[in-house]
Amino acid sequence: MSAPEIPEAALRLAEALVFAAAEPVSARALAQLLPETLEAEAVLAALAARYAGRGVELVTVAGGVQFRTAADLAPLLRKVVQIPRRLPRAAMETLAIIAYHQPVTRAEIEEIRGASLSQQTLDALLEAGLIVPKGRKEAPGRPTLWASTETFLTRFGLRDLRDLPRREELLVEPPAPAPSPPEPAPDAAAASAGETGEAPDGL
């Protein structure tokens, strides 16, 4: 659609730049390589259009664009590419609380979950680079405040925190068993106790 106006040379350059990078590439980084007459955003849009439906797609995440394999190929790719374990339920909930309530202290996280936060959970989130300490709360003991990272956005395919559903939207009550796969529903304890709850649906 918008492709015709974009010179092939610019498309090639954008393609090479984004392909080579390990992290998402911002439009600004691309703009530095393009002639001033070209809009980086337009070039990226044309590039995304070219890759739509292919085995590798251009997605917008964490303030930039990144090539990623198409989600539907995951089951096949998992046969050959090593994948890390899924985060345990406690870690996912803690991560959600930090993402929604940041900056937030450990005590506040424990208050919301009604359970103490294990060292193991904190270590897992830190090691995965999903959370960072971000200053201290001006309160007795000056507890550390926690926040989510760019890596969090990148990992879950979010452009920014506003991509998270609003809290009220989340509460359409037990959203029927199906749509939310690893739901900690009645049998949650069993799921989290067993292996990592492989989310069989949707794939």
Binding site: A22, P181, G202
Partner: protein, 258 residues
């Protein structure tokens, strides 16, 4: 009350077998609330309390030792129940309602975060569901040829070198040898004979370069030597005015100091 509790009796006994599977009392309460299959905002707190207490009661029958957190929550819910059922007065009733509201809000907040975690779980996760470039290429070349040079750094290094070297040698103060009375006597005695007339005492100071301190010591020693020689009659001393130069010469036969 038995109405809502009864159908869940079976569930309760099922639950108590795996209390350890819950992340604490709030987790259990939330699950019980979800069992009511209602909008969380409209659940019956009273029924919920009944259920929780039933579960804990059942659990205590099976295992006497229960984690304190379960019992603390049970005690608090028992208190809440009494406020909701048989308030002593209006204030107590209001207190009960407020507490029930707070509990309901906490359950909603936890449920929201549960849902948020679940929503995140449905996202295509990088590294599990979608994959980035396995072998990214880096076109960043690092040039380390430039040197950071600054004068403060240079001075720090200089001082560090000097201090370290000094430390290695150990601190050895220069041996200070003051001009002793004995030295002064010997010199004055030897020189007096060769000099025909009055000389200032300072001419008899040691011949080597002196620091100010050494010089003062030598002046004192030489004065003492002069006094000693005058006392024995070997020399004569004279001072024209206060603080003026002190003059000395060899005594001639039978002279006395002036």
């Amino acid at each position: 009350m038995p109405e809502p509790a009864a159908p869940d009796a079976a569930a309760s006994s099922r639950l108590l077998l795996r209390l350890d599977g819950f992340d604490g009392p709030l987790d259990l309460l939330l699950e019980l609330a979800r069992g009511q299959k209602l909008d969380l905002a409209r659940i019956s707190i009273l029924a919920l309390v009944e259920q929780y207490l039933a579960v804990i009661e059942g659990a205590r029958r099976v295992r006497l030792e229960l984690a304190a957190e379960w019992l603390v929550m049970a005690a608090w819910l028992a208190w809440l129940k009494s406020r909701l059922l048989l308030p002593d007065d209006e204030a107590a009733a209001e207190e009960g309602e407020q507490a029930a509201e707070v509990l309901a809000e906490r359950l909603v907040a936890l449920q929201q975060m549960r849902a948020a975690a679940a929503w995140l779980g449905t996202r295509p996760e990088l590294g599990r569901d979608v994959f980035a470039r396995g072998g990214p290429e880096s076109f960043v070349a690092i040039d380390r040829s430039r040197l950071v040079l600054d004068v403060p750094g240079l001075l720090r290094s200089y001082l560090a070198a000097l201090r370290r070297a000094a430390g290695r040698r150990g601190y050895a103060p220069a041996p200070v040898t003051y001009w002793s009375l004995k030295d002064a006597l010997a010199r004055l005695g030897a020189m007096l004979g060769e000099l025909p007339d009055w000389q200032t005492l300072e001419r008899f100071l040691p011949p080597t370069p002196l620091s100010p301190l050494e010089r003062r010591a030598a002046v004192a020693s030489t004065l003492l030597a002069g006094l000693e020689l005058a006392r024995t009659g070997a020399a004569r001393l004279r001072q024209e005015e206060p603080f003026g130069p002190i003059l000395v010469r060899k005594a001639r036969g039978g002279e006395q100091s002036e």
